[in-house]
Every structure is written in C-alpha cells, then in structure tokens.
C-alpha cells in the first residue's frame, strides 16, 4: 500500500515538473515575422533616453552614459542584480544579436539562449513598445562604443536564483500586450501614455509590489518603498500631485525641480538626466498623461519604529 502511494507521489511530482517545464517554454519572436525596416537612428536615440537604458547598464564609476558595460549593483529584496553588458561588443555585449533576439528580450523577457530574463529588467513595460521603435533602438545601441568584459552573475537568494522559475512568474504577470491607444483621447495624450508605460517604465519604480515582486495593478503609480531599503518612492497620481500643473510635470522632467524649487533625489536624478534630453513635445506629452492619472492613495507606508 505504501509502495503504491510512494510510486503515485513520484509520478505526480514528475508530472507536475513536466507541466511546469512545458508551461515555461520561452516565447520568442521569429526573424521571418519581421517586415523590412529602415532604422531611424534619431528615433532610436529618443527611445534610448526614454527607456533609461544607461541608468542601469552604463559602466559604473565613470561619466560616459554611452559606455554600456553593465555591472552596477542593483539591490532588491530578492538579492543583488548586476545588469549585463549591452554594448555593441559582439562577444561580451549584444553586438552579435539579431533584431529578432533583441525584440524577444525586450517584449518576452527571453534571452537569445532561450533562458528567461529576470524582471528586474523591466520588460513588463518594454513589452508595450512597437517593433519599429525597438528596431530603431537596437540600431542606435549598435552605434554606441563596444565595451569589453562580461558582468558577474546576479547574487540572489534561493529560490530566486532558479532561473527557470521566472518562466512561471512571466505566465502570471507578463501579459504580452502591445500598447493600445485610447481613441477618446488626443494624440498627445496617447503619445504620453505610450512613453510613460512603454519605454519610460515609470510605474516600475513608482508602484507598490506584491510578495512575488509584481506590480499591484490597482495601485499603479501610487509609489512604494525604495528597493534598496533606504527611503521611499513617491506617489505620482493626482492623489499626491493634484496641485501640479502640466507645466510643473514638464519642469520636473526637464530640470528635476518641483514647484517649491526642491529637487528630486536619488535615482530620479538619473532619470531626469535622460528625460531632459527628450524633445519638448515628448516631455509635454508625458506631462499631459501624468496629469491625467486618476487619484490613487495606495497603501500607506509602514509605520517607522
């Protein structure tokens, strides 16, 4: 009797693993599905700025934002991530990737070798970008200098260091949806919505997350604790910012100054270094969209002892 039970349990466990394995087979974009495209490098540059690639991937301890050798330590509740080298180096960076592989990484969170990428890389937002914009961005990245050297592996706690598990996370939290414009709103609002929710990935910092590290959808943009444990990230919905005009939002994205001349702090300063270089039209579009965010209180911060 016990032997039968044991056998049944072993088979059940093997079946479960098999199903999970099958469920987490990575999605990839196939090269043949991409129509011919002439890259627009100035659009690629705009996407590079809006996407904030250099904020995570620039080689630390130096000032050139175009040197994307990776290696900056990103402390989170799951452990420390080390963003990889995404320079144009063919061996240590992404210089040898195809367009399809780049699009797959950005929209499906899968690497060219078929492994899932950790969502500390915010493909949950980048997935909303159009193939055209991604191809322009890829072309632009390849014009930046090659940097040699691979980056060390992430330093994550068990079970987060089991990469295949991210496949399950993606099933639960990656909807694979491209950006859907709202036909009741202006072109400017839609451009802002695209920039903020796609390349801008603003909600990735400005939202609270659940125990699995996924954004709590109903509280998007209402802020949260800083992932490295020091300080907090503000609520940017109209619950907190109803006194801000669209011009105030543009000012923050341009100089980092808020209406009382105080300046944004921490990682937001890096963001402003990028957004300040976006076209005025794009900053205004983002401002229009951000001003329209419905007020969401979100969960209050935990009481300090």
């Amino acid at each position: 009797m016990i032997r039968k039970l044991l056998l049944a349990s072993v088979i059940a466990i093997l079946l479960a693993f098999g199903v999970l394995w099958w469920l987490t087979i990575p999605e990839i974009v196939v090269a043949a599905s991409l129509p011919p495209h002439k890259p627009d490098l100035s659009n690629g540059h705009e996407m590079f700025l809006a996407g904030g690639c250099s904020s995570c991937h620039a080689t630390p301890n130096q000032n050139d934002h175009n040197k994307l050798g990776g290696g900056m330590a990103l402390k989170t509740p799951f452990g420390t991530f080390y963003p990889p080298n995404i320079s144009s180096d063919a061996h240590d960076g992404i210089g040898g990737w195809t367009e399809a592989q780049f699009i797959t990484a950005m929209t499906e969170g899968t690497s060219p070798s078929g492994e899932p990428l950790y969502p500390a890389f915010p493909y949950t937002s980048y997935q909303h970008m159009t193939a055209g914009d991604l191809r322009d961005l890829f072309a632009y990245l390849k014009t930046l200098p090659a940097v040699q050297g691979r980056v060390r592996d992430h330093d994550l706690r068990f079970p987060f260091n089991v990469r295949r598990g991210v496949g399950v996370w993606k099933l639960l939290f990656l909807d694979g949806a491209p950006f859907k414009p709202d036909s009741t709103k202006s072109a400017q609002w839609n451009r802002g919505a695209y920039l903020v929710n796609g390349p801008g990935h603003c909600a990735e910092c400005h939202s609270p997350r659940n125990a699995f590290g996924a954004i709590i959808e109903s509280e998007r943009f209402s802020g949260g604790p800083s992932p490295d444990g020091h300080g907090g990230i503000p609520n940017i919905t109209q619950f907190k910012l109803k006194d801000w005009s669209e011009a105030d939002f543009v000012e923050v994205l341009t100089t980092g100054h808020m209406p009382d001349f105080d300046r944004v702090s921490g990682p937001m300063r890096e963001v402003v270094q990028n957004t300040s270089q976006l076209t005025k039209e794009d900053r205004m579009a983002m401002a229009v969209y951000l001003k329209s965010l419905p007020p969401i209180e979100g969960s209050p911060p935990p009481k300090k002892k």
Partner: protein, 147 residues
Amino acid sequence: MILRTILAGLAVSLCVTAVIAQTDPVKTRENLMKENDQHAKVVVQMMRGQQPFDAKKVEAAFAQWADTAKQLPGLFPKGSEKGGDNRASPKIWQNKKDFDQKAAAFGKAVADNRAKAVASLAGLKQAVAAVGKTCDSCHDDYRLSKR
C-alpha cells in the same frame, strides 16, 4: 523641610522636561526644513509672477534660512539616526565633517545673496538660483527620497 524638598524636586523636573522638549533634534530639524520649504514656495511664486515681489517676505525667507544653516550641524547628534519621518541618510554620520561644510556653504550663500534678493525681482532670481544650488548639494548626498 519636606515641603522644600518637594518644591525643589518639582522645580528640577520641570526644568528637565523643558530642556527635553527643546532638544528633540529630529523634530526640530524636520520643522526647520518644513519652514525652509514654506519660504521657498513663496519666493518661487514671486519668481514666476504668481504673487507680487515683496521685499519683506524675501527678507523673512532669507532670515529663516540663515538661522537654519546655523542650527543644522548641531541637530544630528549620534542616536538621532532614526525616528519620525526621518529623511536623514546614514551617510550624514559617516561623513559628518562634509555635512557640516555643506551646511556652512548654505549659510554663506544665504548671507552673500541676501541684499541682492531683497533689492529686486531680478536679483531675487539670481539669489535663489545660487542658494538653491547649496540646498541641492546637501540633499543630493544626505537626504533620502520619500514616499
């Protein structure tokens, strides 16, 4: 004899209570910063033409900022690292000398630009830009972001 002892004890405890209430550094520095902010809002509104230039209000702002700069270095004793809505970064205690220098730079910028600020709107704009730089240089390194 007993009455005198009781009265003496009462007097001492009253004094001690008063002293403790005065010396909660976390509350004091938070209030100073909040007041800094109130004055900054007024001054920025003048710069944007949202309220008329008023030399008295500008003077009040600069006076309060000068006072803040003087008090700051003494408001971060060891043991006051946590508490309240504290945005003080642990780096302050790791680099206290540098923090104190930045507070001094703030005080100097306020003093150097006070006359110009009170004189005209154009002067005010230049003055606030100069003072603002010293606010930023300290905040960038020593103030935590907030929820």
